[in-house]
């Protein structure tokens, strides 16, 4: 009964109600769309930055993160990697050695990070195997083969088939040198990697840098970079076992936030700014609702007086007003979510691009189109907050009713 009442009341002033609903729809559409777009962007930032090379988790010596020295490495590394692979039942666990070396071609010399990788497993933890643009990726049996980043190869004036001299220092600090053949050139799209990284096979790396069955870190890729606790819990006992067996080995598991602190903070900074903007948007809508409902209450004071004379209590009338707001907000929510989702779904399939996007995406290693992410939370969180704030804004008109008495109310104009 009371619902019918509220419904009819709303349509007494069609234009006013539609305008208020429009305000809600406008903000809801914006909220739904922007939220989906942002989470899509964040996911791309995380995935693209981590998938290329650094992975979601890395097992390292405790000191390695701050001081990436070659001698801060993991002993008996292949057994440990095997154990982790079994525990996680995943192949996306691979061993890497890392050493800074001077690469010299016939005409140029450049410093680069030489990474020893396990081609069989690294193809699951890094996308570099898939972005070899010239030549081929490494194989497990390669000994004197190397693959280079695009910019590094260009700087060294090297193409596939050329030889390059590798000069560095081994684990003990003596000179490590080798002559290798370029078998492939990769283009990851990340200038920092394309300029600085060269990869050789792990066994060759270990012999060159005098680190038999040792490596600097084990990289792990999981199904979801935002839910790492499961994998962490599985790996923890393995680390405890090592710590008790060999007190010299102090291994820690670093998640991507520790490996690349910029990403999470960039997201946080962006969310902070966005929340502030959304808040102002919602605030303006709330003012609009508050004003509408205040007017609606004031102009019906006489009517309320009659209702109270007939036995209704102020609380009943308050409930009526609240119900009116809720109905309006619900219409706003349904329409807003529907329109917002329609836009989002369209972009989900077609992607969004705008002027200047190329420069942005290049900097943050993203594809040249953004695809919004669709989620129940993204679709309803914003609109529900709008609804909540609308009801909150109605508290003021409602509060005015509380003090109403039948006699006073009926005297009002």
């Amino acid at each position: 009964m009371i619902l019918t009442f509220a419904w009819r009341n709303l349509w007494r002033h069609k234009t006013r109600t539609w305008l208020t609903i429009s305000a809600m729809v406008f903000s809801n559409v914006l909220l739904v769309f922007m939220f989906s777009l942002q989470s899509g962007t964040y996911n791309m930032m995380i995935n693209n930055s981590l998938d290329v090379f650094s992975g979601h988790l890395q097992l390292q010596d405790r000191r390695y993160l701050d001081q990436p020295k070659q001698r801060y490495d993991i002993n008996h590394v292949s057994q440990l990697a095997m154990q982790i692979r079994q525990a996680l039942s995943s192949d996306a666990v691979s061993i890497r050695g890392s050493a800074f070396s001077l690469l010299s071609s016939e005409s140029r010399s450049f410093g680069a990070q030489v990474i020893g990788v396990q081609p069989a497993f690294d193809q699951y933890t890094s996308t570099i195997s898939g972005v070899v643009k010239q030549g081929r990726y490494l194989t497990s049996s390669d000994t004197d083969a190397i693959i280079l980043g695009r910019i590094l190869a260009k700087n060294l004036k090297l193409t596939v088939g050329d030889t390059v001299t590798l000069l560095g220092s081994d684990r003990e600090g003596s000179i490590a040198a080798g002559v290798v053949t370029v078998v492939g050139i990769f283009s990851s799209g990340m200038p920092a990697l394309d300029r600085n990284i060269a990869q050789i096979s792990l066994p060759y790396f270990q012999s060159l840098f005098y680190s038999e069955n040792r490596a600097n870190y084990i990289v792990i890729k999981t199904a979801d970079p935002l839910a790492l606790s499961h994998a962490k819990n599985i790996i923890a006992p393995l680390l405890d076992a090592i710590a008790t067996k060999d007190p010299q080995q102090q291994l820690v598991l670093r998640d991507w936030d520790a490996l690349q602190p910029g990403i999470k903070q960039a997201i946080q900074a962006d969310i902070g700014g966005a929340i502030f903007m959304y808040f102002i948007l919602i605030l303006l809508v709330s003012f609009s609702v508050m004003n509408t409902q205040l007017m609606s209450v004031l102009e019906r004071t006489r009517e309320f007086g009659t209702m109270m004379a007939l036995g209704l209590r102020p609380s009943n009338i308050s409930r009526l007003i609240m119900l009116e707001t809720s109905v309006m907000a619900l219409i706003g929510l349904v329409l807003g979510v529907a329109i917002g989702m329609a836009i989002t779904v369209y972009l989900y399939f077609n992607g969004l691009t705008y002027e200047g996007m190329e420069e942005m995406t290049e900097k943050f290693n993203m594809a040249d189109r953004i695809y919004p992410q669709i989620s129940l939370f993204g679709a309803f969180a914003g609109p529900l907050v709008v609804m909540l704030f609308s009801c909150f804004a109605t508290l003021y008109p409602v509060w005015k009713i509380r003090r109403l008495t039948a006699l006073n109310a009926m005297r009002a104009v």
Partner: protein, 415 residues
């Protein structure tokens, strides 16, 4: 006429405060909207400005001159001869405010502990001050000696704090720099670390080491050759005149580019920000407009009888529109005044910047500094005010026009 005008003002003013709650709520909404427009735009502007300024420090300079192949292949091979007297003379006149030359080549730095790849910069200590690398950045030891100093005093090298830690070395210790000469011979030379600097640009101090240009010249076997010329002007916003001026004086074989062309990300960001400010102002206005139009509609609706009476007494439709528009403009202007005052006050309060060091790495990823400085631009305030008053009155025209068309007989008989 003046009397009538004053009367009209009074009428509109009183009408406005007849329902003071409604007017106040609307006023608060307008104030919040105006504040959000001006304050947020100033913050966004400040962020972009910080980003461009720090980007220009890393570059450095507004305009750079290189060997045409240098940007693709930043090697010692692509050096060019020191500018001649004519060019030097041209650079001492406006629009050029300052200029410097440097040698910039890839090199390898080795301490007794570790080896790293760096960019070796040969600079003139006296010239470099106006550019990215200044004496204030030195945290230990001293800056490079002036070119007039004795040669043995100019053999030092200044490296970043982070690089020092990575190399596990100290001030005063020896390091070896390896690079190539134009004939592809490996050249190496020992340097004493004479100074340590810090940089607010992330990653910068790990990859850039500074030494005396004339000394590096000798080491690399490139007498009187340089890698780049940097030129500063008075205003980074407008570099077209500066670029054209430098281009007309530099040898044709060299490549003259300004920062907009050198750093496309930076130039794109500053362009995007311009359109972003307008979009933000319009979105806020749209959110506000629904409430605005609603309030005015209600104000008209509850006065239908009154408006009918005025019409019956002979007031014309245009007169009704005038009174109602006067009312709306009073509301809008009042909101604008308070909103402007509030945003200016808040901008004054944060004039020293907002500390965002909690998310410093993230800000750095976008190229922003850890302390956010708002940048107030008068034209943004003008834009916000213009949008509110123009579009606001345009929106108010609808209820006013509706009111002016009421049939007095029908209106008087309502209720």
């Amino acid at each position: 006429m003046p009397l009538a005008a004053i009367g009209g003002f009074k009428l509109a003013w009183r009408n406005l405060w007849r329902n003071y709650r409604r007017t106040l709520i609307m006023l608060v909404a307008i104030v919040v909207a105006v504040w959000a427009m001006i304050f947020m735009t100033a913050l966004m502007r400040g962020m972009t400005n910080d980003m461009v300024v720090s980007g220009l420090k890393a570059l450095p300079g507004f305009v750079q001159v290189h060997h045409s192949a240098y940007r693709d292949d930043p090697s010692v091979v692509n050096s060019f001869a020191m500018p001649d007297a004519a060019f030097r003379k041209a650079m001492s006149a406006l629009p050029v405010t300052d200029w410097a030359v440097r040698i910039k080549v890839p090199a390898v730095i080795a301490s007794e502990r570790d080896t790293r790849g760096v960019t070796l910069l040969g600079i003139d200590a006296d010239k470099e001050q106006a550019f990215g690398f200044t004496k204030e950045q030195i945290i230990a030891g001293h800056y490079l000696a002036e070119p007039t100093a004795q040669e043995q005093d100019r053999k030092g090298i200044v490296i970043g704090q982070k690089l020092l830690e990575k190399l596990e070395t100290k001030l005063g210790r020896r390091i070896v720099i390896m690079s190539q000469d134009p004939d592809n011979n490996l050249v190496d030379r020992g340097f004493i670390i004479s100074g340590i600097y810090s940089s607010s640009i992330p990653g910068f101090e790990e990859h850039h080491v500074y030494a005396d240009r004339q000394y590096i010249e000798k080491m690399l076997h490139i007498p009187n050759q340089i890698s780049e010329i940097s030129i500063l002007g008075s205003n980074y916003h407008d570099v077209t005149a500066l670029t054209a001026y430098v281009k007309s004086h530099a040898p044709i074989s060299l490549e003259t580019l300004n920062w907009l062309e050198l750093d496309t990300y930076l130039s794109m960001m500053s362009k995007v920000m311009d359109s972003y400010a307008l979009v933000w102002i319009l979105v806020i206005f749209l959110a506000l407009s629904f409430g605005l139009i609603n309030t005015l509609m209600m104000a008209v609706f509850e006065r239908i009888r009154e408006i009918g009476l005025m019409r019956a007494l002979g007031m014309r439709g245009t007169g009704i529109i005038k009174i109602l528009l006067l009312e709306s403009s009073m509301l809008l202007v009042l909101g604008l005044i308070i909103g402007n005052a509030l945003s200016l006050l808040m901008l004054y309060l944060i004039r020293d910047g907002i500390d965002l060091s909690a998310v410093a790495d993230g800000m750095a990823m976008f190229g922003y500094g850890a302390v956010l400085h708002a940048q107030f631009i008068f034209s943004d305030m003008l834009l916000a005010n213009g949008v509110v008053i123009t579009l606001g009155l345009l929106i108010c025209l609808y209820p006013a026009w509706k009111a002016s068309r009421y049939d007095p007989v029908v209106a008087l008989n309502k209720y």
